[in-house]
């Protein structure tokens, strides 16, 4: 049987859409929601409830619906959508849910994006109030954005068949919309829900762009978009939600809000059933009753809780054969999958007076709750309006205005007036002058919009009286909570879970507050509703992630030489955002064999790596030396032009934060290098000190990290290779000393060559502009070919430096390590009166003799490789936990040069323990190790000069 009316609604009756629900093949029309199409097919029972497994239907027509939760299965599985907000399309497959949704295991193919939008006035809600506000603001010349979650403008007007100024209200809406669309600087966004109000006019809105197209959604178009709107002024014209009255058995499918039934009728051409009892506390439901009756629904009775029915409306009803029972309420219902009877009795509970009315539909209206969610998110205070029985905006905010039913105003003309005023004052506040006032329309509505009796619930079986239909929370639960000693609505929410479901209590929150106030005998005026939080309606995770996924999740930073590394089979290590070559495996090699080969080649002949990621900062100015003296633990101002010095930096707490070389470029100019991961941090650190502490210093810092490509050329044959590509340069040990630099040409390109070594070998660091990096790298490869020049990655670099006992910041250190702990007292100036961190060295803790210090560890069995991160203990047998730990292994490698494995470690009193045997628990055994100095290779430093 069809419940589709023969005419009416905004659906396209000429086109048939096929869809499947709970396995049944059904049809609907473009313009339907899944809910309206189900109702048109007579389907009321949608799913079942989470705790009690009771059938659940459709209560409202919009996003406030607490019950119609469905799982879309095709085109792509999506959990927990409201049937009332799923626009119907051909081929839709969905099913009702039992309280929980299902995530698809397969990846979501859809595209999501975000867009920033700026405006002077943002209007939320395109009902009569919002339209008036937007038009008024637009006419002033302001940049206006108007958003509405519906697929068309009109708001409440979409759900009625009223006339404005003697024309169908749709015509009025169309006129306003047409003018808005033709006004420059106006953006109207349908299917767009403002879901979060943040600081300083920042509003987030989710636009559903292709969901309604189903399988026909075009590829390449973002399915959903998050609009990040920054506006000067906001007008909230979000309307009001009808609220139900709670009574026993109020959760049966077929029980629906009266205005929603009216919306299904007028907007979708759908009847909610064949025989409807209407239960109300106010006038508005009379219109629903009359409209349904006129559309062929049998409406046996209006049950009006008020002692007296409105005379004119009652007369109209009588004329249509509708009995009006004033002073009565619905006290219970019957039915399995759907309501079959309503029990009607006097409100004052006169025993015995109970009639049973057969029906398949019960329409309920308990009044109206202004939609104040966003206003409250904007930190607007709410006030209880006793006449309305709802919280309303209780103050004016500087940048947020509220208009229309969202204020509690129910009369159409008044709503439009409010909208107009709000639009005008928002425009004025944004610096514009309103022009051309729009006239106020006059409505022919019969149901004069006055608030009625405030009634939260009808006494009855508390266990069957549902407050939150989604959470299965009943009046009994509320009373149990108050009985347990709870007073705060926040507690009661958490005890009962009311308002925590998908609908976030849009229709249940106010009722729960009312029932609690009654139970506790307190005034609602003294209560605050539970906190409204974003999002207003549920937003998919993917929409929030937007395009920052996959390749675009986080920038991959690469050097100028990167293509070569890729072409030569490098594996990469993530260092911050950089991809650095980790090692270059040849056929059949794993990490260890490749690294042993790279190390060997470098120590015996020549190797080369891409060091471009090192941070580089140009420090210029008269006070540059003085400044660096404060930043580094050692002295930099005494460095001679042309020379280079290694330096360590500490935080104010005396812990090492970075290290690197400092080269003196000129009298007033230095170039400092930082570790890859800390480049930005150290520049910021320098700027912070300069700008906030020492603005008097004549120093300027400029990052040149990416201006330069940096290539360390390492090994006994590096001099020969360099000589071959740098004919202008005297590479002899005398002319080009260790820790000096020269400007020259390398492979025909201007270059700065530094003689620095992070491996202990003779080594150079060649710096050319990044544009030349690849060419120079290739030239070096060619020049080194005869020596078997070997590119190496970070792993080999780590091994080479570890053999020399050089720490890596972040690997040997963890924010608890001082330069002294690293054995670098030599790099801590005794002469300087102060530098950052110096004072902290004097604290008690820093002078303990049992601090952890950097040492070398040699496993007694030279083939055993200690896992990095292993702990170190004193005894060859483990006592019961907790076991005293002496420190941990920071680095550990097999060494080609040493012909054995070795490790670096931080060990309590490590410097004193040199020569001792300690133990490292590895899985179930204890590996004996000998503590050594941290420098294990070429202790005398003989290799440095080649």
């Amino acid at each position: 049987m069809t419940f589709r009316t023969p005419t009416g609604g905004t659906i396209d009756r000429n086109t048939l859409l096929h869809f499947t629900f709970n396995g049944r093949k059904l049809t609907g029309h473009p313009g339907d929601t899944l809910a309206s199409a189900l109702l048109a097919n007579g389907v009321h029972e949608v799913g079942s409830s989470v705790k009690l497994g009771r059938p659940r239907g459709i209560v409202a027509a919009g996003s406030e619906d607490p019950t119609s939760l469905v799982q879309v299965e095709e085109p792509f599985p999506e959990p927990m959508l409201l049937a009332t907000t799923v626009e119907l399309f051909d081929g839709l497959v969905a099913r009702g849910l039992a309280g929980q949704g299902r995530l698809a295991p397969e990846p979501d193919p859809a595209r999501y994006d975000a867009k920033h939008e700026h405006c002077d006035v943002l209007v939320v809600g395109a009902g009569p109030a919002g339209l008036a506000a937007a038009l008024t603001a637009a006419r002033s010349g302001a940049r206006v954005v108007l958003v509405d979650e519906q697929n068309q403008a009109g708001g409440a007007l979409l759900g009625v068949d009223e006339y404005l100024d003697d024309r169908p209200s749709a015509a009025w809406v169309a006129d306003v919309l047409a003018e808005l669309r033709s006004t420059a600087g106006v953006l109207v966004l349908e299917r767009t829900t403002a879901f979060g109000m943040y600081q300083d006019g920042f509003v987030l809105a989710l636009q559903k762009r292709t969901d309604h197209l189903g399988f026909a959604a075009p590829a390449g178009v973002a399915r959903q978009r998050v609009w990040r709107i920054r506006t000067r002024q906001i007008v909230l014209a979000t309307g009001a939600h009808e609220r139900p009255v709670v009574f026993a058995g109020n959760d049966r499918p077929g029980i629906m809000l009266a205005s929603s039934a009216r919306t299904f009728l007028h907007r979708y051409g759908v009847l909610p059933g064949s025989r409807a009892v209407v239960f109300t506390t106010n006038d508005s439901a009379y219109c629903a009753a009359i409209d349904l009756a006129e559309s062929g629904v049998d409406v046996p009775m209006i049950v009006d809780a008020r002692p007296e029915a409105p005379a004119r409306l009652a007369t109209e009803c009588a004329a249509r054969g509708i009995e009006v029972r004033a002073g009565h309420v619905v006290i219970g219902t019957e039915g399995a999958g759907r309501v079959t009877d309503a029990h009607v009795a006097p409100l004052d509970g006169v025993a015995g007076h109970c009639d049973t009315v057969v029906c398949d539909t019960v329409l309920v209206s308990g009044g109206w709750n202004p939609v104040v969610n966003l206003f409250s998110q904007a930190r607007g205070k709410l006030r209880y309006d006793a006449e309305l029985g709802a919280f309303v905006p209780g103050e004016e905010l500087e940048t947020v205005r509220v208009a229309g039913s969202a204020t509690g105003e129910l009369d159409l003309t008044a709503c439009v007036r409010q909208g107009r005023n709000a639009g005008a004052s928002a425009a004025i506040s944004a610096g514009f002058t309103p022009r051309g006032q729009m006239p106020l329309p006059v409505s022919d509505s019969r149901c004069t919009s006055r608030s009625g009796l405030v009634l939260w619930r009808v006494p009855g079986d508390d266990d069957a009286s549902f407050v939150d239909l989604q959470r299965d929370a009943t009046v009994a639960d509320v009373l149990r909570a108050t009985g347990a000693g709870l007073r705060s609505l926040e507690h009661i929410k958490r005890y009962t879970t009311i308002g925590t479901a998908h609908d976030q209590g849009k229709t249940s929150g106010m009722i729960a507050a009312g029932i609690v106030a009654e139970a506790l005998g307190v005034e609602l005026a003294d209560q605050r509703p539970t906190t409204f939080r974003p999002p207003y309606t549920a937003v998919s995770f993917a929409a929030l992630a937007g395009r920052d996924r996959g390749e675009l999740h986080d920038p991959v930073r690469v050097t100028a030489i990167h293509p070569w590394h890729v072409a030569h089979g490098a594996l990469f290590e993530d260092v911050g955002q950089w991809k650095r070559p980790w090692y270059y495996p040849q056929a059949g090699e794993d990490l260890h064999t490749a690294v042993l080969r790279e190390c060997k080649a470098t120590r015996e002949s020549v190797g080369m790596m891409d060091g471009s990621t090192l941070g580089k900062i140009d420090v210029q100015g008269r006070d540059a030396g003085k400044f660096l003296d404060m930043l580094y633990t050692n002295m930099m101002s005494t460095l001679k032009v042309g020379r280079i010095r290694y330096g360590v930096m500490c935080g104010v707490d005396g812990m090492v934060i970075d290290d690197g070389t400092v080269i003196r470029v000129g009298e007033e100019r230095y170039l400092v290098t930082t570790t890859t991961g800390n480049a930005a941090k150290i520049l910021d650190w320098m700027e912070e000190w300069l700008q906030t502490e020492w603005p008097h210093l004549d120093v300027h810092c400029t990052s040149v990290t990416e201006h330069w490509a940096t290539i360390p050329l390492v090994g006994p044959k590096s001099r020969d290779v360099l000589a071959a590509v740098a004919p202008d340069l005297d590479v002899s040990n005398e002319a080009f000393e260790f820790m000096t630099w020269h400007d020259t040409h390398v492979a025909g390109v201007p270059a700065r060559v530094c003689r620095i070594s992070f491996s202990g070998e003779l080594a150079y660091e060649i710096n050319v502009t990044a544009w030349h990096g690849l060419a120079v790298w290739e030239a070096l490869m060619a020049a080194g070919e005869q020596y078997g020049i070997t590119p190496y990655g970070t792993e080999t670099m780590h091994v080479l430096r570890a053999e020399k006992g050089y720490p890596i910041i972040g690997q040997e250190t963890d924010a608890t390590v001082t330069p002294q702990d690293l054995g670098m007292s030599w790099a801590v100036s005794k002469k300087k009166p102060d530098f950052i961190g110096k004072r902290s060295f004097a604290r008690a803790e820093n002078n303990r003799t049992d601090r952890k210090q950097l040492v070398g560890l040699l496993p007694v069995d030279p083939s055993v490789l200690l896992p990095e991160g292993s702990q170190i203990v004193e005894t060859d047998r483990l006592p019961e936990p907790p076991v005293r730990m002496l420190g941990h292994v920071t680095s550990s490698y097999p060494s080609a040069a040493l012909g054995r494995t070795f490790a670096l470690a931080l060990v309590r009193s490590g410097h004193e323990r040199i020569g001792e045997t300690l133990y490292v628990p590895v899985e179930d055994s204890l590996v004996p190790v000998t503590v050594t100095e941290s420098v294990l290779y070429d202790k005398e430093g003989a290799r440095r000069d080649g």
């Binding site: 079942s48 497994g53 979501d108 600081q199 507690h491 976030q504 974003p534 008690a844 803790e845």
Partner: protein
């Protein structure tokens, strides 16, 4: 329509019919606890239960346990790096293991295990270091490779092709989650039953001292004399300590969290990724509960900035592609009191009879039973319990920090 034999939410326990009374404050108490969060309530409970001190009031400025206790992602674990930390957190975990019985309250403590993911070679080193330290401290801990991660939590994307691949994880099987409200209310009910007064809507506005000793608190509901005062005010600790002239090395930051709608079980464990700030579990009803990184600025507003949530979502989807069409249902924020070394401050103060428990930052829920027990001991004996002895305020002067920041075991 699917109608399962039993609806998915049917098995969840109800709260008891009676919780607590709402007495008027008395003129004086032996011990006044400021702050009715988990810590304050647990402290009251152990004071009464272990030390027999029952003339105790817990003063809460809002609704009981409505601060961070109502807002946290409920992750419980004890696999911290340093001995000092593992001491107190493991003590706490052991108490969690018997808490349901102890309180007679269904706290839904669920030892489903926690994975801490490693995304870089340094993460791997730090993780292995922590696992080894944990084991020697008697704490269950494992290092699992990506395949192991997949086995424990099949929905984690362990493909090497993502931006920050999962290189492995530490796993603590005894770790897990509990239901925050139930825990707080369990303590409250049990403390109340032993005679503790729980006083809500009672904001402490001043601390009175005489001769270097605390004598009373001023509150929005009048003056209350106190033999001892214990501060358990989490995000508001600096404000309260200042009333006694004590400066704390704390910064109060917004910390946000969020939930999805109810979903069929997909996520059997707890996954934390400090590198990308994703902390996620699926709570008992079926909602995904996710924590974010802290907002950078100081804030007492119980709200944060949305870009934090957006960033967290993109990171979460890299790790859990199946979450794409889950929906965000609600976001919120708490106020966390972050200390310089990411470790708490628990112990005596320069003011006699005034005790301090703060600085738990993003991770104090798990400590609730442990610190409640140790703090009660500290108050009762006017001497720190061995487990909280290292967590003095003086450590910032001596330099004896317990740096869990540097140790990459931060957060939750």
């Amino acid at each position: 329509m699917t109608s399962p034999a039993q609806p998915p939410g049917a098995h969840l326990p109800e709260h008891p019919d009676f919780l607590w009374e709402n007495p008027e404050p008395k003129a004086s108490y032996d011990v006044v606890i400021v702050g009715g969060g988990g810590h304050g309530l647990a402290t009251a409970y152990y004071l009464a239960k272990v030390h027999g001190i029952t003339n105790v009031a817990v003063l809460e400025k809002g609704w009981l346990a409505g601060g961070n206790m109502a807002r946290n992602t409920t992750i419980i674990r004890s696999n911290y790096l340093w001995d000092e930390s593992s001491g107190i957190y493991e003590h706490s975990l052991k108490l969690w293991e018997g808490l349901e019985e102890d309180l007679g309250y269904p706290i839904l403590f669920d030892q489903r295990g926690v994975l801490n993911l490693a995304h870089s070679l340094q993460d791997v080193r730090d993780s292995v270091r922590r696992v080894n330290a944990n084991r020697l401290n008697g704490i269950d801990a494992e290092w699992v490779d990506p395949a192991g991660v997949k086995e424990i939590c099949p929905i984690v994307n362990v493909s090497p092709d993502v931006r920050y691949p999962v290189l492995g994880a530490t796993y603590q099987p005894r770790a897990g989650i509990a239901k925050h409200d139930y825990v707080a209310w369990g303590y409250a009910r049990a403390a109340h039953a032993m005679g503790v007064d729980l006083i809500q809507n009672c904001e402490v506005t001043g601390l009175e001292t005489a001769g270097g000793r605390i004598t009373a608190v001023q509150t929005s509901r009048g003056r209350i004399a106190a033999g001892k005062v214990a501060l358990c005010a989490a995000g508001h600790s600096s404000v309260l300590a200042k009333m006694a002239g004590i400066r704390l090395p704390l910064a109060s930051h917004p910390l946000q969290a969020l939930v999805s709608e109810l979903l069929e079980p997909v996520h059997p464990t707890v996954v934390m990724s400090n590198a990308v700030h994703v902390y996620v579990s699926q709570a008992h009803k079926g909602e995904l509960v996710m924590g974010a990184g802290i907002d950078s600025y100081n804030g007492y507003g119980q709200r944060g900035s949305f870009h934090i949530i957006e960033q967290q979502m993109s990171a979460a989807l890299e790790l859990f592609p199946v979450f794409a069409r889950a929906h965000l249902l609600r976001t919120w924020a708490g106020i966390v009191d972050v200390s310089p070394d990411a470790s708490p401050i628990v112990g005596l103060t320069p003011v006699g009879g005034l005790y301090l428990n703060c600085g738990w930052g993003t991770g104090g829920f798990k400590a609730t039973p442990g610190v409640g027990d140790c703090f009660a001991h500290t108050i009762a004996h006017d001497k720190p319990h061995p487990f909280n002895e290292p967590f003095t305020l003086e450590r910032f002067t001596t330099g004896a920090l317990v740096d869990e920041h540097g140790a990459a075991a931060v957060a939750h």
